[in-house]
Each structure stands twice: as structure tokens, then as C-alpha cells.
């Protein structure tokens, strides 16, 4: 449907008022609820990140105390992982667009969907309550390694319970998506006619479903030890702290693919739309998501190469780690091939997608470095790892998130942002990002350990460059946010399909109506990206 017919009230207009939002069963509203909450927590987490950078500008104690610093990076990690990046793309854009892209009017369990959001809010309250209650936020690192997490006096139990609750929120979202994909595809849309974003979410959801409970129970064991004295990881009675690490990473490694796969799904949407041609290797991209999800379960040990795990186990984890890189590289090459002989319309969303590929390459390739046993012995728990994961998480998923925001912005709000400012913001963001994190890779190679409040003088210059990068990043980010807000208040309406996309969300009006479609959506013949205006290849 385009706006040619009499347009129905859109989902913003049907009902108004706070309660019509926070108790809404509409997947689009829930998606936006997630957007606002996830976005706010991102800013909180980011501010904490900048605070750390300021402290690290010079060696020695300047701004905050050692203990505070430790609490800051823990809270930063917890917020960024559990409150920002894991829910980011699936819960925001997955909620909003999965049903529309499948040609249906909601997810399979709308009420469960709302419950997920409420659980998310509850978990967030738990996490932030540590600022006020007890002896302050946990100071353990987001990994909560035993036995320190059991011994410290800070409010670990609350943070851990928060992660537990957030885990269940994430599980329920995943469950909802799997059922939605199995049951609610438009008539005629087989699995192989689904948009790749849906495929990515499908693989992601399975990870959420099958990995998250393991960390749930592990964190409960930490709570039990702190509150009831049930010391399952207590070394003084023969408990094994390394077992804790195993259980933690059995979840937390697959979790990094919860963060990465949806981002890859976004990129797989953006590139064909702006290249105006079909995606190259649809099946390879779709199935490699499943392959990554599957193999990703069996590589957790690469976080523990120096923990005292046995040699043979280390070899096996190392080689499996390398195998996950292969489906990932297949995706990268497919995206590249999709640009080949396209008719490329260079717009902001595409720039974010291209930046995603660049940053993710750095992140992924540094991942290979730490995946090698010998190199990891030197690089483990240094800033190299910090650089690696910010490149994949922020440079990858974060940039994909921003890209999705710019891509679907006109669809969600029916408005358009200022493209020039968006381009400038992008450029600043990109430069700032790389100035911030590239020095960390070098710092790591030089041997600066992470979670260090203070450092040796030889690391000074690089830390300063990095901190300066964070300032540039702030400017870019604020400009981007400002521009998006401004666009929202502009009077001009955006067309229903500004990018000439052909997946189903571009067939409805912008913003969509309450039930998404008022006429059965028409599937594109020959696959979801078969652009009718392109030549046959």
C-alpha cells in the first residue's frame, strides 16, 4: 500500500497517552518502547565510558577513586551488554519490522512481548538500584568471576539478579520470534523467501533461547553463595572457579553472536536496497547465520586459554574458534559481491553499512589474533581485547544499529532527517570511533592490561590519543541524535518508500497502520530482493 489510497490512521494516532504505550500490545509500540529505553541506557553507559577515558587521560589518580573506577567499568559493561547491545537490534527493530517483513500484523504472542519489555525495565531497575542500595554497584567486571564476586562487599547480588531478569526478557523475545517465524509468515513465503533480517533473527533467537538459561543458573549460584552460603565455586572447599568461567562463557560467547547476527541481518537489508539489485548468495548468507549460531556454541573456551584449562581443551577451542570465522567471512564476501554491478545510491544508511563492514573487519580479524593460542597468551586481558570487542560491538553492531535507525527512520515516523547533517555526523562518528579504539589495539600489544585504574608511564601517549578520540565521538554522536530529533519535528512528510526498497515493510504506509497492512501484501516474485528494475545477470 502506498499513500495513494485513503490513508488509515497510523499506529501513533490510534490511541494516545502514556498508558496506551506502556501497556500496548502492538509490536511497533513495544519496539519503540525498547528504542527509547535502550537508547537512554546507551547514553548512560556511554557517559560512563567517557568517564573512564577521562580518568585514563593521565596515569595516576585524577578524577575518581580506584574502587569507583572498578564499579564504573563494571556498570559500563553490564549496561552496554545486557541493557544496550543484546536487546538493541532484535528488541527494537526486530519487534518493529519482523512482523511487517513477514507480512503479518503482530508477533505470535503480543502479551508475552509486552511482558518481555516489562521484565527488561525491571532488570534495568535492579541494575541501577545498585547505585543507591548496598555498598554501591558491583566492582567485579561484567564477568562476575568467582571467587572475587563472592568476596567483595559491593552489591553484586543485585547486579547479578538484574542480569538474570534481563536474561529472561531476552529469552522470551527470542521465543516469540521463533514462533512468529514458524507460524505467521505470509501465505506463500517459505523459509527461503524470508528477508535475511528475519533469518538473522531466527538464528539469534535460538541462541537466546538455548544459551541464556545457562548464565541464568550460573548467576543464581553466585547469589546463593552470597546470600545462603551455598558455596558451589568456593575454592576453599574444593569448588572450582574455572568451572564458573566455563558456565559463564557457555552463555557469553554465544551471546556475542546474539549481538552480531542481527547487525549482519541489517547490513544484508541495507546493501541490496541501496545497490538496487538482488543480494548475492542469499542462501549462503541465510545458512551461514545458522552455522555461526551453531558453531558459536562450542568455542567458549577461547576466553579461558590462560585460565588453567587443559592443553587439549585449549587446542580444540582454538580450532573451533577459527572455524566460526569462515561463515562470517562468507557473509562479508557476499556483501561485497552484492555491490558489484549494482546501481549504488550512496545514502547515510549505506555509509553506516560500509562502515560496519570496515569496523567489523578490524574487530573480526583481531578476534582471529586472540583466537590463536600463542598470541592470546600475550594478549589476553589486555587492551587488545578491549579494542577487539569495541570494534565488533560498537563499530559493528553499534554502527549497524545507527544504520538501521537511519534506514527505517522514514518508515517508523513518516519523516525525514537532514541528510547533509547526517552525513557529517557519520563522518565525525567514524573518525572519532577509530581514534578512540585503534590505539587500544597497540596498547594491548605493548602489554597494558585491561581493568587498570592506573598504568605505567610508557602507555601515556596512546591513552591520551584514545581519550581525545572519545571527545570526537561525543560530538558525532550528539550531532546524530540532534539531527534525528530535529527530523522528527520537521513538517515535511517522507514518502512511503524513499529508498525504493522491495521488502514488505515498504509496501505499507509510513508510519504503518495499527495492523500493518490493509490489503494482503504482495510477495516479490523470485525471492525477497529480486529487483524488477535490474537486468537479469
Amino acid at each position: 500500500m502506498t499513500d495513494s489510497s485513503v490513508s488509515q490512521p497510523n499506529f501513533f494516532e490510534v490511541k494516545k497517552g502514556l498508558f496506551s504505550w506502556i501497556f500496548s500490545l502492538d509490536h511497533k509500540r513495544i519496539g519503540l518502547l525498547y528504542l527509547y529505553s535502550v537508547g537512554s541506557f546507551f547514553l548512560v553507559g556511554a557517559a560512563l565510558g567517557v568517564l573512564m577515558r577521562l580518568e585514563l587521560f593521565n596515569p595516576g589518580a585524577d578524577l575518581i577513586e580506584a574502587k569507583t573506577y572498578n564499579q564504573v567499568f563494571t556498570l559500563h559493561g553490564v549496561i552496554m551488554i545486557f541493557l544496550f547491545i543484546i536487546p538493541s537490534i532484535p528488541a527494537v527493530f526486530g519487534n518493529f519490522f519482523l512482523p511487517i517483513m513477514l507480512g503479518t500484523d503482530d508477533v505470535a504472542f503480543p502479551r508475552l512481548n509486552l511482558l518481555s519489555w516489562w521484565l527488561y525495565v525491571l532488570g534495568a531497575l535492579f541494575a541501577l538500584s545498585t547505585l543507591v542500595f548496598g555498598d554501591g554497584p558491583a566492582d567485579t567486571g561484567w564477568t562476575f568471576y568467582a571467587p572475587y564476586s563472592v568476596k567483595t562487599g559491593t552489591n553484586v547480588s543485585m547486579s547479578v539478579l538484574a542480569a538474570f531478569i534481563l536474561g529472561f526478557s531476552s529469552i522470551l523475545t527470542g521465543l516469540n520470534f521463533i514462533v512468529t517465524i514458524h507460524r505467521l509468515r505470509a501465505p506463500g513465503m517459505g523459509f527461503n523467501q524470508m528477508p535475511l533480517f528475519a533469518w538473522a533473527l531466527y538464528a539469534t533467537s535460538w541462541i537466546q533461547l538455548l544459551a541464556t538459561p545457562i548464565i541464568g543458573i550460573t548467576l543464581l549460584m553466585i547469589v546463593a553463595e552470597r546470600m545462603l552460603g551455598i558455596g558451589l565455586f568456593d575454592p576453599s572447599i574444593g569448588g572450582d572457579p574455572i568451572l564458573y568461567q566455563h558456565l559463564f562463557w557457555i552463555y557469553s560467547h554465544p551471546a556475542v553472536y546474539i549481538m552480531a547476527l542481527p547487525a549482519m541481518g541489517i547490513v544484508s537489508e541495507i546493501i541490496p536496497t541501496f545497490a538496487q539489485r538482488t543480494i548475492f548468495g542469499y542462501k549462503a548468507i541465510a545458512y551461514s547465520s545458522l552455522a555461526i549460531a551453531f558453531v558459536g556454541y562450542f568455542v567458549w573456551g577461547h576466553h579461558m586459554f590462560t585460565s588453567g584449562m587443559s592443553g587439549p581443551a585449549a587446542y580444540i577451542f582454538s580450532i573451533l574458534t577459527f572455524f566460526v570465522a569462515i561463515p562470517t567471512s562468507i557473509k562479508v564476501f557476499n556483501w561485497l559481491a552484492t555491490m558489484y554491478k549494482g546501481s549504488i545510491n550512496v545514502q547515510v544508511p549505506l555509509l553506516y553499512a560500509v562502515a560496519f563492514i570496515f569496523n567489523f573487519l578490524i574487530g573480526g580479524l583481531t578476534g582471529l589474533v586472540v583466537g590463536a593460542l600463542a598470541a592470546d597468551v600475550h594478549l589476553h586481558d589486555t587492551y587488545f581485547v578491549v579494542g577487539h570487542f569495541h570494534y565488533v560491538m560498537f563499530g559493528g553492531t553499534g554502527f549497524a544499529f545507527f544504520g538501521a535507525l537511519h534506514y527505517w527512520y522514514p518508515k517508523i515516523w513518516g519523516k525525514m532527517y537532514n541528510k547533509l547533517i547526517a552525513n557529517i555526523a557519520f563522518a565525525i562518528l567514524f573518525i572519532g570511533f577509530n581514534t578512540l579504539y585503534f590505539p587500544m589495539l597497540i596498547l594491548g600489544i605493548k602489554g597494558m592490561p585491561r581493568r587498570y585504574y592506573d598504568y605505567l608511564p610508557e602507555f601515556h601517549t596512546l591513552n591520551q590519543i584514545s581519550t581525545v578520540g572519545s571527545w570526537i565521538l561525543i560530538i558525532g554522536l550528539l550531532l546524530m541524535i540532534f539531527n534525528l530529533f530535529k527530523g522528527y519535528f520537521s513538517k515535511q512528510k517522507a514518502p512511503a518508500n524513499p529508498w525504493n526498497g522491495i521488502t514488505l515493510e515498504w509496501q505499507t504506509q509510513s508510519p504503518p497502520t495499527l495492523y500493518n497492512f490493509d490489503k494482503a501484501p504482495e510477495l516479490v516474485e523470485g525471492g525477497p530482493y529480486n529487483y524488477p528494475n535490474a537486468m537479469k545477470g
Binding site: G190, H246, F298
Partner: protein
Amino acid sequence: MSNNKLTTDHHDDAPHITSYVEHFGTWISLILLTFMTVFISVFGADLNTLTVATALFIASVKALVVAYYFMHLKYDPKLYKIMMLVVMALFMVFLIMLTIDYLTR
């Protein structure tokens, strides 16, 4: 209502109704297995390390019976069996990887 739904994953729509007798039979076999495992453990102590294996084996048979008959897996579409299999396989691989670590420390 529900027949509007897409049924790509499921073929037959008429639900299978398990008879009371079948449930009762299932129960009998489960009880027998329970007594068997208790018997082996209490009186068959000389099996030594094998007791763990037999106990777990019997438990797995019981679990299978519960899943297949009580939980209706036997009459469910293939998808459910595949999913169950994948979940179990996943868990087994976790165990195997951990065993590798602990046995070779």
C-alpha cells in the same frame, strides 16, 4: 479460526487422542523401571562404576518414555523431534567439551 493458520510445519490437523489405557501402560512401565533402578542400586552394589551408567541409562529410558508418550512427542510433527534432538545434542556436546578439559588437566 485456527485452520486459517499457515501449516507449513505441520501436516495433519486432526489431533491424536491418546487412550487412557495407553497412559496407564506408560505409567506401569515407568514404575517398573523405577523399581528396577532402585533394585539395582540397593542390591547390585557389586556392579561398581557400572551402577552410575545403568542408573543413568534407565533414567534416560524413563525420560524418553515420558517425552514420547506422556508428552505426546511420538504423535507430534517431526519438527518437535528434531528440535528435541538438537537441544539434547547441544547439551551433550557441552558435557563432552567439559569432560575433555577435566580429564586432561
